[in-house]
Structure formats: structure tokens, C-alpha cells
Amino acid sequence: MTGTDAKPSDHSAMSRADDTSSGIRADSDAKPFRVLPRVTPENEHFWRGGREGRLTFLRCGDCGYWLHPPSPVCPKCWSRNVVPDAVSGRAVVHTFTVNYQPWIPTFDPPYVVAIVELPEQEGLRLTTNIVGCDPEEVVIGMPVRVRFEHYDDNGYEVWLPLFEPDRTTDSGATGHGSQLR
């Protein structure tokens, strides 16, 4: 109905990784072309925590509740003492889709978009990509773990938290604050 004659629109202004030749592929380390997030003081811990290999969220320093997206107040105890803290990096696929539509120029389908849930807290979730496996292998409930993809757009650096199958361990929580891998 919308036609199959997709023509890439102008993408010259979009952020470009070192290698723009392919979409996410299980068998390739090439980084596809992505729009990067606007890093602010409020979200920097999340988008640049990958520099140290840590998947980092805000957490209430008083009651321990994890916050996502970032917010200046704990929604459980209303404490303003919210500070970045790292999670284990493990997660479970809560739901996913195999996308076949070419939405983004040079980011070639098919690729998997998923919402993963972290063992640290029920409902602590984020949208991400599942990489490192064939799209057909992804199922709801699958254990995954974070794998950061580093982007450097002329010094503007971001570490995107992607997830890959966790084939090494069970999917249980390892507690908060632990360093990745």
C-alpha cells in the first residue's frame, strides 16, 4: 500500500560510523549508520557508561529503586538523591520484532528491535537491538547480555548498549553494581 519503491532520503547530515556498508549482521563487526542520541548531563551516564563497559542507570540512593529514563526524583520514595549505578548487563528479551522495512538509509533490514528487561528490577526495560545471532533465533524470554557499540562522530562519542545472546551463564540476576564481564 505504501509502495515498495523506497528511495533513501538525504542522509548526508546524519551521523556516520566508521563503516557504513551494512546493517547489523550476525557475522560482521561492521558498524552500521545510526542516528546518535543527544547527550546531556542528565543522560550522559547512560550513553557514555559503555566507555568503562558499564550499563548505567540512575538509582535512588535511599531506597535502591532504578530509574529509566533518567529523572531527577525517585518515583517510589520521592528522594532527590538519585545517582548513576551500573547493572549486571544481563537481560531477558521481553518482546521483539524482526524489522523488514528500510526506515533508515544504509541501515539494511532485516534487523531485530527488542525491549529487554533487566533482572535487577521488574519492569526495568529498554529498547535495543539484538545482535550476534540470526534474527530467526530470537525468542521472547531469551537471555541476553549487553554489548556496547562505540560511535565517534568527529569526537562526539556514544556507546550504544546493544544486546547479544547470553550463551555463557544462566539468566539470573547477579545483583547491582557489578562490573560487566
Binding site: A6, P32, P37, T97, Q101, W103, I104
Partner: protein
């Protein structure tokens, strides 16, 4: 859903101000693909038709409400706001509102109802104009999603920062993930979901203004290309050009109109979950869970009283969520409920999207459903007219929006 009449709404103001308002007239411009007409031109055509239908003149219109207001991006999504319409029609306004942050597209109508009920104005011109088909030209919907606003070193911010870096710029993907979770938890199938699209196409064949009127079979549906699993091309609505206008009036005006009017029995605009596409608590539901619960809390009518349902189908799965939220079936039972398509057909238990919905009639973005509900209640739906108890429908429910956006209206025929 509605057995607990108090629930989260027990402490609400018992006033039912919406009953002081009616919908007195509707109008719609030419609609179609790539009309290449100016959005204001389309809007004026719809507005003048609606004003005449309501038995009014422009001199009597003293309010305007619109969604989403004038904005340049995404291309074709708007392009006309309160300002342009007020000036073109030289209206003297006592009240107006336009904006994106409301309970879905019909949030603008609900706000107009509230304005009339509180005496801020007498007659509100409500409109929604789209020209996405022309705006995207030959570049398909990717042009609409990615074509605008990304100049310079564009960085994603707000909610889009959580999805765009992961190549998930479209509601097609976000809704697909909700559908996948529903399929996983309840065993819903593509063959079941297909009925939303097949029903829409059957009804579109009886609607001369519908964009797609060729017959569609289950095989056609199952064999068309996938967009984002489990949603295929026919689960996605078709970008269109067109403007729809409705007039919200004081209830007293009903006597002055030469056709039946739609009395506003109840509205639903609640959202109690987190306002987010991926942080929403239960991804097998959407905001219509709360909006529908609020609506039923404000009326003695029940789902079994509804004669026709016009429920948003930006993606087919959204309609299934509306059916569940409104209590036509239980949560998770939507698949079996629509299986085979007989319950939702024109002569079924609950005739659904009788004009073909956005899937086949075109993406007029929420307002098309309200327009159709009025046409059905007023006996003006021609070949697709629903007949109940030997006459025209008496009760219609309209729901628009998906994900964290939802607004609903329960309408009854007056006279």
C-alpha cells in the same frame, strides 16, 4: 472491565459535563492519495461543509480546536493550525486550542466539549488535516519518518533518543513489539489479526471515498510483504490527504439542526500508566485500557448497548486493543473474538470500522472514525449503513490513538 464501577475513578467528580455538548455537524474534504492540494484548502473545504451541516454560519463559530496544531514535521502530518483557519474564515473566537499533547487525536474534540460545557464558547470547529500522501511523494513512508528535521548534526532527543539510535524510528516497530507480546502471552495469530484488515476492506468496497476498494483475501494478507513482525503491509494504514471537521455545539442547538445530532454520552481520556511506548507497564495493553475504563465509569450504558464501533487502526493491532479495552471481549481474548470476522462485520454483533478504517479508506488520523460514527448515527452512510433493530444505530463508540495516546467518545443519536 466495567463491573467495578468505582475502581480508580471512584473519587472523580460526579459531574457529567460532556452531556451539555453535542456534535451538530460534520464535513470532510476530498480525500485520496497525492491530491497535491494545499492543506489549508482541504481544511476550508471540510470546515465550511461541517458548519453548513450544523445549520450554522461562520459568524456563529466562536471556538476552534485542532490536533496537532501547525507543525512542519513530520512532513504532511499537519501544516494547518488554529491561526490559519481563524484568519481564512475571519472567525471571532472566544476560545481556541491546538496542540499535540492530548489524549490522542480526539483529545482536541474532548477539549472542545469541555470548553462548550463550561460556557467558554457556543460552537467549536474541530478539525484534523493530513497531506502525508502528497508530502511523501514517491519516497514511501520512510520519507515521512526520516525525511524532515534531521538537518545539521542531528541528535535524537526526548523519547526518540531511546528508539532512533536502534533504528526504530516508527510506531510500526513499537506497535509490532506490543503485538508480538500479545501473540506470545495469549496465542493470538496472524490469521486472527488479519480480520481487522479484511473487515476494513470489505467495508471500504461500500464506501465510494475509500482509497483501496479491491477485494482482499486471507491469502493476499498472508502473502504480502512483512513490515515488522508480526505486522505486514496490510496491518499498516495508508497515508492519505484530506481534512475532516466536526462542530461541537451546546446541546440546546440540537433543535435548530435539520438532521439528528450526536449527543455526547461519555468521554474517556485517562492515562494511568507511564506515558511511554516502551515503559508502559503491560505491553499487551495500551492507554485505551484507562481511557475506556473511564468512559464506562461515566455512563450507565454498557458495551452490549453499542451499535457501531469506529476504532483507530493506524495499525490493525491497535484496533484489537481497543476492542479488548472497551470490553467487547476480555483482555487477551481479542484474537478469538475477531476470528472469522463475523462478529465485527456490518451485520455482526458489533459492526467495526464501517467505512473501511484508515487501513483501506485512508489515514485521516482519528477524525475519520468520528465522522463515520456520525454518518452512521444519522443514517447517511449509504450502501454501508448499519441497520439495528430495524433502524439506524442509536449508540456509537469512537476510539482514537495507540500506544500511550488514547481518547474515546460514546455518542448517542438524538432525534
Amino acid at each position: 472491565m466495567s463491573e467495578d464501577r468505582g475502581g480508580p475513578f471512584a473519587s472523580m467528580n460526579p459531574a457529567r459535563g460532556e452531556r451539555k455538548a453535542i456534535i451538530s455537524g460534520v464535513g470532510q474534504s476530498q480525500t485520496g492519495r497525492r491530491l497535491y492540494r494545499e492543506p489549508l484548502d482541504l481544511t476550508v473545504e471540510a470546515a465550511l461543509a461541517a458548519i453548513e451541516d450544523a445549520g450554522l454560519t461562520t459568524a456563529e463559530i466562536d471556538g476552534i480546536a485542532t490536533y496537532p496544531g501547525n507543525q512542519d514535521t513530520p512532513p504532511g502530518f499537519s501544516g494547518v493550525g488554529v491561526v490559519e483557519v481563524q484568519d481564512a474564515l475571519r472567525l471571532n473566537l472566544n476560545w481556541y486550542a491546538g496542540g499535540l499533547e492530548s489524549p490522542g487525536q480526539l483529545g482536541s474534540v474532548i477539549t472542545a466539549i469541555a470548553a462548550v460545557a463550561t460556557g467558554l464558547c457556543n460552537h467549536v470547529l474541530c478539525f484534523r488535516t493530513v497531506w502525508e500522501a502528497s508530502a511523501q511523494g514517491d519516497k514511501n513512508r520512510a520519507a515521512v519518518t526520516m525525511g524532515g528535521g534531521f538537518g545539521g548534526t542531528y541528535r535524537a532527543s526526548g523519547f526518540m533518543q531511546w528508539t532512533l539510535p536502534f533504528a526504530a524510528p516508527s510506531a510500526a516497530i513499537w506497535i509490532a513489539m506490543m503485538a508480538a507480546r500479545h501473540f506470545h502471552e495469549f496465542g493470538t495469530t496472524r490469521e486472527q489479526l488479519a480480520q481487522i484488515a479484511l473487515n476494513a476492506r470489505r467495508n471500504a468496497q461500500r464506501n465510494p471515498k475509500a482509497i483501496y476498494r479491491d477485494p482482499m483475501t486471507l491469502d493476499d494478507y498472508l502473502n504480502v510483504r512483512m513490515i515488522s513482525t508480526p505486522l505486514c503491509l496490510y496491518d499498516c494504514d495508508v497515508p492519505a490527504d484530506g481534512s475532516t471537521a466536526v462542530i461541537v455545539s451546546r446541546a440546546e442547538h440540537a433543535e435548530a439542526v435539520d438532521h439528528p445530532v450526536a449527543a455526547v454520552e461519555a468521554v474517556g481520556c485517562a492515562i494511568h500508566g507511564r506515558p511511554s511506548w516502551d515503559q508502559w507497564d503491560d505491553l499487551t495493553t495500551m492507554a485505551m485500557r484507562d481511557a475506556a475504563a473511564m468512559l464506562w465509569n461515566r455512563t450507565d450504558l454498557r458495551p452490549s448497548d453499542v451499535d457501531v464501533a469506529e476504532l483507530y487502526d493506524g495499525f490493525s493491532f491497535i484496533t484489537l486493543c481497543w476492542l479488548e479495552a472497551l470490553g467487547f471481549c476480555g483482555h487477551g481474548e481479542g484474537g478469538p473474538f475477531i476470528e472469522g470476522g463475523t462478529r465485527i462485520a456490518l451485520d455482526g454483533e458489533i459492526p467495526l470500522n464501517t467505512h473501511g478504517g484508515q487501513l483501506s479508506a485512508g489515514r485521516l488520523h482519528g477524525y475519520g472514525f468520528l465522522h463515520e460514527a456520525c454518518e452512521q448515527l444519522w443514517g447517511r452512510a449509504g450502501e454501508r449503513q448499519v441497520v439495528r433493530r430495524g433502524g439506524d444505530p442509536e449508540v456509537a463508540v469512537v476510539g482514537a490513538g495507540g500506544g500511550p495516546l488514547a481518547g474515546a467518545l460514546l455518542l448517542t443519536r438524538r432525534r
